[in-house]
Every structure is written in C-alpha cells, then in structure tokens.
C-alpha cells in the first residue's frame, strides 16, 4: 500500500479547484459546463498568445489559429482547424464525449470592421448548426495593429448598425474580458423562433505592440 499513489495525493497535487476544472473539461455534465470551462480556458490561452505577441505581430491568420488549436488540444479538447462544417470553419472545439461543440471564426482586424462583420455572417449563416448543444460560437479577432479595445468597439458599432440582418439580436458585456470582448445572441435564420438563440462571444486578441519611441 505504501508504494501506491493515493487518491488523496492526487487531489492534493492538482488542488481542488484545478481538479474540478479538469473534471469539467474531461466530462462536462451539461452544455453550460462545457461553455463555462471552455471560456475560462480560452481566457488563459488567449493570454498566453498575447504574452507572445511579438511572435504573432505579422503572422498569418492560420498560423495564429493553429497555435490556439494546439493549446486547446493540450487541454483535452477535441479541437481542430479547418474542419468541414458546410465549409471550412476556422476552429471547431468539441468535448471529449463529442456531445457539445463550439465553432469559431478567426479574422485579422486590419481589413476593417466590414470584413469582421462578414466573418460573423459567415459563422452564423453558413457554419452554425444552432441545434441544442451546438448553438454557441466565437469570433476571434486578431488585432495586430492599432488599439484593441477601440478596434472591437468600432466593430461592435458596425454590428449594431447592421442589427436588422440578425433577428432579435441582443448585446451583452463580457465580464471575463471587459472592453475586449462582448457577447451577442440572435435567432438563427435556419432555426427560427422557439429554440434558444445562437450565442457568440466576440473576442479581441491583442497581438500588437505599441510603436517604439523614436
């Protein structure tokens, strides 16, 4: 018995909080569980990309997305890049049990807010299923130039100005990433009224560097 690794040591090594997170990642009990832990993990992983911003400041969209997908895989998500979901979606994240999923559309911000809006339309009209346990998505906005919060605010303004294109769209602040993310929910055209709205988390990733002092 003494040479065995005990459950109490296992719990102690992970710590109660990390162990609970690990259990949620490996075996989420509900779609909300999956969404919650995925967003917590995304926050940390996005933070890691941002801390390595110098490596991504001129990177192509796919290169940044691939780095994020690898990090998600290392946290036990069934994540992939360019999976066929009625077209090649940038990021697909499924739970290990494959019951729950989230799709992500990645766009570099330097092509402007209209380009980002096209990405949101693409995500919610072409790729999103919108069926139960598959009705959440993410817009990953890679900000390599300019001010991230202002870039996101401009995009949000354009989205609000185009609200008529998205049935019953609602906007909500994102407490996890104040000023650098917001959530929307709207009725998907392919699903219609009566089912839960499609929720999208719009996240600005700060992959820029301030100009050096001349």
């Amino acid at each position: 018995m003494s040479d065995r690794f005990l459950l109490e040591e296992y719990v102690e090594a992970y710590g109660n909080r990390e162990l609970a997170k690990q259990a949620k990642r490996l075996n989420p009990q509900s779609y909300n569980d999956f969404w919650e832990i995925l967003n917590e993990d995304l926050e940390e992983l996005v933070g890691q990309l941002e801390s390595d911003a110098k490596d991504f400041i001129s990177a192509e969209e796919d290169e940044i997305t691939r780095a994020l997908v690898r990090s998600l895989k290392a946290r036990f998500y069934d994540a992939s890049h360019e999976t066929d979901e009625g077209g090649h979606v940038d990021v697909t994240v499924r739970s290990q049990c494959r019951k729950y999923s989230m799709l992500g559309e990645a766009k570099r911000s330097k092509k402007g807010s209209g380009y980002l809006l096209d990405g949101f339309k693409q995500l919610t009209s072409r790729y999103a299923r919108g069926t139960p346990s598959h009705n959440r998505g993410a817009m990953l906005i890679y900000v390599q130039q300019g001010k991230a919060a202002e870039t996101l605010a401009r995009y949000k303004n354009v989205l609000e100005a185009n609200s008529a294109s998205f049935e019953n769209i609602e906007f909500e602040q994102c407490a996890l990433r104040e000023g650098l993310a917001f959530n929307t929910s709207h009725v998907l055209e392919r699903i219609g009224q009566g089912a839960p709205k499609y929720i999208v988390r719009h996240i600005a990733l700060c992959l820029n560097r301030t100009a050096s002092v001349q």
């Binding site: 018995m1 040479d3 065995r4 690794f5 005990l6 459950l7 109490e8 040591e9 296992y10 719990v11 102690e12 090594a13 992970y14 710590g15 990390e18 690990q22 490996l26 075996n27 890691q48 780095a67 690898r70 990090s71 895989k73 290392a74 036990f76 069934d78 290990q96």
Partner: protein, 154 residues
C-alpha cells in the same frame, strides 16, 4: 513498435504544452512503452505510477512536479490519442492479503458527494476513503491498438 501516426498526433500538440515537464513525462512514458513493445512484453500490460515516474525522471516529489506528471498521464489517457487507461482501486485495511477492488469514476463521484465510500467488500461506510484508494495508469497491446485506430480515424 508504436506507430509513427500516434507519435505524430502527440507531437502535433507538444509545442503548446504550457509546462515543459508535461512533455518530458510524455516522452518518458512513450519511451517505456516502446521498450516493452520491442521486448514483446506488452501483452501483460504496464502499470505507470506517478511516484515511479517522478523517481525515474529524477524529480523531487514537490507539488508542481507531481502535477506535471499527472497532467502528462492525463494527457496520454484523455488527450488526442489515448495510450493509457486510468484506474482507481480500493485497498481494504482490515486484511492486508486481500486484493484491491476496482472503483469506477461514478462510484468515486458518489463518494465525494456523500463524503464517504461504501466499501464494496464489507459495505462499511468509510469517510477517509481517499487514503485507501490508489490511482494508477496502465496500457497493454489492446489499448495501444485502439489508440492506433483512433489516430487513424482522425
């Protein structure tokens, strides 16, 4: 030998490991599986204990190193290619010669919720069950074949 496909799948994720230790643990485990496989010893299976890995890699048993070992073992059990299986065993204290009893994850979850485990042998309610349940990871030929199939599918 372990197929290149499995190794490729694992290495695909390596650059993203947040802690170098996890990659080191995975390397060590894969190396040991490869040695056993080349010696034809895999049919009997190999058990990996976190304590054994800590010693083999020459680490001290501090909390962060132990966590790296567990993350590595979990990664190979639940990650993109599942080379290992995780097992929990209950060890009776009243009879040292008695064999341990396998405990399912559901039973453990129920025990955590109720604050105690019902001993499968005696039906006795044990509050301090975490000191009597061991955690081990193992692999054998059948598990590796499944992992290869999974890697092929993906």
């Amino acid at each position: 030998m372990l197929s290149n496909l499995i190794l490729a799948r694992i290495r695909e994720v390596y650059p993203a490991f947040e802690r170098e230790g996890v990659a080191q643990v995975c390397d060590w485990i894969i190396g040991r599986i490869g040695e056993n496989e080349s010696l034809g010893l895999l049919d009997n299976g190999i058990v990996f204990s976190p304590s054994e890995i800590i010693q083999a890699i020459g680490w001290s048993e501090d909390k962060s190193k132990t966590q790296d070992v567990l993350r590595g073992l979990d990664f190979l059990s639940f990650g993109p290619v599942q080379l290992l299986k995780r097992e929990f065993e209950f060890w009776p204290l009243d009879d040292e010669d008695a064999r341990p009893v396998a405990i399912s994850l559901d039973e453990l979850a129920e025990a955590a919720e109720k604050g105690g485990l019902v001993c499968p042998r005696t039906n006795q309610f044990i509050e301090n069950f975490k000191a009597q349940v061991s955690v081990a990871y193992y692999t054998d030929s059948a598990t590796l074949r499944k992992a290869e199939e999974m890697a092929d599918e993906r």
